[in-house]
């Protein structure tokens, strides 16, 4: 089997495209491959038997039936190939995820109108997704496995179909010249967020805090559990409590303070802390060796900047 797999890899390496390409990429006959499926081979053998038998017995109805089926089968081959011909891969986009979790890879495809293209299969390895094109094109979402942090260059995508009769499989490779970011995998369990950072302590409003800061009028969006019902009853209007959190100051997540850990473990801890700080809605800054400090800030963009910096740290050694 390994020899066979090796041969297969070898043959696939000859297939077009042989190097990454800039999208959009249009599929044409030079890069669409078509081979009979196992069932197609079975039907071929069956029709050959029928044809030889019919010729031998000079049984014209049987021969005509056989030839009609051959004609339909050949037409279906053309049809299969033309399902792919003219497709245009507009964009491939992967959402950043932590290493180890599958990355949703969106493949956006368009095609000139006039031909129904449904039930195409987009695949990377064993991960498949169905792609059906409407007038505005179509999108398939693949789950691309990720292993390690950093840039992930996607392998070749295979777009294929066996429609309409399942006799042959037409496929084409797409090798987008793109790279997708994979965040470091956060460690599973570890110490809580460090307290403070040495900067001025500052009480900040935080719904997760415990000490009552003050009361204010209700505004749309306030959670019902924050409503001070007794005070509201007295005032004849809804009043909500606002809390503060005692730690109050910006967090600093500093690489240097994790001196006892090895390189990758530091990255994974910092990644977990970034996520925890986001969850607790704390402003935080990230200090990495040889890089300017990121932050302090919070929110999706800040998180992305931090995790990206962590993901792209060079390997140890």
């Amino acid at each position: 089997m390994p020899a066979f797999a090796g041969l297969r890899r070898r043959v696939e390496s000859w297939a077009r495209p042989r190097r990454p390409e800039v999208l959009p990429a249009r599929l044409d006959r030079r890069r669409i491959y078509i081979l009979p499926t196992g069932f197609g081979a079975f039907v071929t053998a069956l029709l050959a038997t029928m044809g030889i038998g019919a010729l031998n017995y000079n049984n014209n109805p049987a021969l005509l039936l056989c030839l009609l089926l051959v004609g339909a089968a050949l037409a279906s081959l053309l049809w299969t190939q033309l399902q792919l011909s003219g497709l245009e891969i507009r964009a491939v986009h992967g959402e950043p995820v932590a290493a180890g979790t599958p990355m949703p890879l969106h493949v956006h495809v368009e095609a000139p109108p006039g031909r129904e293209r449904r039930g195409l299969r987009v695949a990377i390895g064993d991960n498949e997704a169905v792609l059906s094109l409407g007038d505005a094109g179509g999108e398939a979402t693949l789950a691309l496995p990720t292993i390690r942090r950093g840039w992930l260059t996607p392998p070749r995508l295979r777009i294929g179909t066996t429609r309409p009769l399942g006799l042959a499989r037409a496929w084409s490779w797409v090798w987008p010249e793109a790279r997708f970011l994979v965040y470091p995998a956060p460690e599973a369990a570890g110490p809580p967020l460090p307290q403070g950072g040495g900067d001025e302590a500052q009480a900040r409003l935080n719904p997760a805090g415990e000490e009552l800061h003050h009361l204010r009028d209700w505004r749309p969006g306030d959670a019902p559990r924050t409503i001070a019902w007794k005070a509201s009853a007295r005032r004849d209007a809804l009043i909500v409590r606002e809390f503060e959190r005692p730690q109050g100051d910006d967090l600093t997540l500093d690489w240097q303070r994790l001196g006892t850990l090895d390189h990758e473990s530091r990255i994974r801890r910092l990644a977990r802390w970034v996520d925890e700080a986001e969850r607790e809605a704390v402003r935080y800054r990230l200090q990495l060796p040889g890089q300017p400090v990121i932050g302090p800030d919070r929110g999706a963009a800040h998180r992305h900047a931090c995790l990206r910096a962590l993901a792209l740290l060079p390997d140890a050694g």
Binding site: A62, L65, W79, D126, P164
Partner: protein, 645 residues
């Protein structure tokens, strides 16, 4: 692999089962009676059982063995072509018991395609053909559904009519190629292997005859041959279609003498007129031929024995055609060699004593052979009756017929007449074949049915040779009682006659067009369109050319859908391609006018393009604008020539 184990969904199962059932139906119609019902019940049971839960392997084996045994028992343990077909039908019927995955469904459908094929080996009638075609279309539609399921499309997403439409389109696209191959693919002049026999032969003309055994044959009103005359036609009373001649008699059965085959045909002096005709003979699974009495010369592949028993070199497994000329004989073998005379006088001893006594008495009274024949015919006219209702013969069959019940049909008359004449010393033999025929009022041809099978006699008279005598025809018309017309024509058939004629005419066209097409006819067709003496290599070249043309046509048909529907847009895109060749293709995001201006900036002489683009934008985006000449103007526009600098 994960893909092959994909479980079959409801729609796929339903389509597969329907397609297999329709494929099976024409085959079942060809099988002898208890089998189709049993097989149909077995099939339905298997399908229902498998729909509930997986059928265990041992049960499938038991089912398969049961069907196998039943079919063999039905065929009387003879293994023939029909037995094979019945087995195929049985296996196909129980195949749905393992219908769980897409892969199972596909193997069922592939297997089902053999059912129409097997049907055509047994029967090539219009019903079989229509059902076979339906079955094939449904199989393709079922395959389309399976492929949809494999591609993750829900069954509700595609309408049944659309699916059938796709299949019909595929067949239509492949049709030119199929027809080119059908007409032009080199045919085998002789088969590589023979077609297996039927386990039970259909009754028909054969080289033996026992009085009474034709009762099945003459109840069969299917066509035996169709005849087209060129020039004069004989009257129906002259239409004696001569088949096997039987000379040896054992007291019960008349048989042909095989050693006569190796002798050259006897000399015949023909009279006038000469009839020129073509016989299209329905398949008989034998190699016996018939021709109008008496053929002048024999076409290739036809052989005549001494007594003009005509045989074909090959067995008649399909419709065959024979070009013949015949003329009534004036003298037929006037010199009879002694061996042949002895054969024509041979009789078993100790049979039919009363006949022998009568013959000897007549011989004593009448010296002249011809007068003796006339006397016998006169006796038949006065004393005998025609009926299909005859008792089983005893030991002295001829005595019983001549002296006891004095009624019967052609076999009895010809047999008894021959025995009587032989006892009187006149060389006599039995000739079998067909008589008469019915003219089809739509096509210019005659149809002779199997029920027109007939037996008559030839007596050898000095100076004239063999002379045809038809004792059955001598029966007085008022004493013809129970005939085939009485038996068949109970339902007032006259009103339906035109319909039947029309049906037969269509059937003959189908025979000419499709069923009878073979190597010889292919050669003739090619000659007619100007290819004289084309050899196999030339034929392959011609076929390849036509196939390439057909493939090109297919490609064009399939690819055509990609064409832009709107002629205006099509012309606009064409202009875009012309400029793209100059490196000035329009970007996707670029508005038409911006592009035109960019082109003009690069090439100063493109004012015409800008003007055209303005017109295009107006026609395309202004709601009411219509510009009749724009498409034409766009089509004829070419990039301006760069002036030489």
């Amino acid at each position: 692999m994960a893909r092959t184990a994909l479980a079959l969904d409801t729609a796929g199962r339903r389509w597969s089962l329907i397609a297999a059932a329709v494929c099976l139906l024409p085959l079942l119609l060809q099988l002898p009676m208890p089998l189709p019902i049993v097989i149909a019940i077995a099939g339905a049971t298997a399908a229902i059982m498998a729909a509930r839960r997986a059928v265990p392997g041992w049960l499938r084996t038991v089912l398969a063995l049961a069907v196998f045994g039943l079919v063999l028992a039905q065929g009387g343990m003879n293994f023939g072509r029909d037995t094979g077909c019945a087995l195929l039908a049985g296996m196909l019927a129980i195949k749905p018991s393992e219908l769980r995955t897409v892969r199972d469904a596909r193997s069922l459908l592939g297997f089902a395609l053999f059912a129409p094929f097997a049907t055509f080996l047994l029967d090539q009638g219009p019903l079989s053909l229509a059902l076979g075609l339906c079955g094939a279309v449904l199989v393709l539609a079922a395959l389309a559904r399976l492929s949809e399921q494999e591609s993750g499309l829900p069954a509700a997403g595609v309408r049944h009519a659309t699916r059938i439409g796709v299949v019909a389109k595929l067949i239509a696209i492949g049709l030119p190629l199929a027809l080119a191959a059908f007409w032009l693919f080199p045919r085998l002049a002789t088969p590589l292997w023979g077609i297996p026999d039927l386990s039970t032969a259909r009754p028909g003309l054969s080289d033996e005859m026992s009085p009474g055994d034709w009762i099945d044959l003459i109840a069969d009103d299917t066509p035996a041959l169709r005849v087209t005359f060129r020039g004069p036609e004989p009257s129906t009373r002259e239409m004696y279609w001569r088949g096997p001649t039987l000379s040896a008699y054992d007291g019960r059965t008349w048989t042909a003498s095989p050693w006569l085959r190796s002798m050259p045909p006897a000399t015949v002096e023909h009279g006038v007129p000469t009839w020129e005709y073509e016989i299209a003979l329905e398949p008989t699974e034998r190699n016996l031929l018939v021709a109008l009495e008496m053929p002048l010369e024999l076409p290739e592949g036809m052989h005549a024995a001494r007594e003009y028993t005509l045989t074909s070199a090959r067995r008649l497994d399909r419709v065959t055609r024979w070009q013949l000329r015949s003329a009534p004989p004036v003298r037929f073998e006037t010199e009879l060699p002694d061996a042949l005379r002895r054969l024509a006088l041979q009789l078993p001893a100790d049979f039919n004593p009363r006949t022998r006594a009568l013959a000897q008495q007549w011989r004593a009274e009448t010296a002249d052979d011809g007068a003796l024949v006339d006397r016998a015919l006169a006796w038949i006219r006065s004393d005998f009756a025609y009926t299909l209702d005859t008792p089983l013969p005893g030991r002295h069959a001829v005595d019983e017929f001549l002296f006891d019940y004095r009624a019967g049909f052609c076999e009895h008359f010809s047999s008894a007449f021959a025995v009587l004449m032989r006892e009187a010393g006149i060389p006599t033999r039995v000739v079998t074949g067909f008589t008469g025929g019915v003219r089809n009022r739509y096509g210019n041809y005659w149809i002779v049915r199997r029920m027109d099978a007939h037996a008559w006699n030839e007596v050898w008279l000095e100076g004239r040779g063999w002379v045809r005598v038809d004792p059955t025809a001598a029966v007085a018309p008022e004493r013809i009682y129970d005939t085939l017309e009485d038996r068949l024509g109970a339902g007032g058939g006259d009103a339906l006659l035109p319909m039947a004629d029309l049906g037969d005419w269509a059937r003959r066209a189908w025979n000419d067009f499709v069923l009878g097409f073979d190597a010889a006819r292919q050669q003739r067709m090619l000659q007619r369109i100007g290819f004289e003496n084309i050899d196999t290599g030339g034929l392959v070249a011609l076929f390849s050319l036509c196939a390439a043309l057909a493939l090109g046509w297919m490609l064009w048909l399939v690819a055509r859908t990609e064409r832009e529907r709107d002629p205006l847009l099509r012309a606009w895109h064409r202009i875009g391609r012309r400029y793209a060749r100059l490196g000035l293709s329009r970007e996707r995001h670029e508005p038409a006018l911006a592009w035109a201006e960019r082109v003009r900036a690069a090439r100063p002489h493109e004012d015409a393009l800008v003007a055209l683009t303005h017109r295009f934008v107006a026609a395309r985006y202004a709601p009411s604008a219509s510009d009749a000449t724009l498409v034409r103007a766009l089509r004829t526009h070419r990039p301006a020539r760069e002036t030489a600098r």
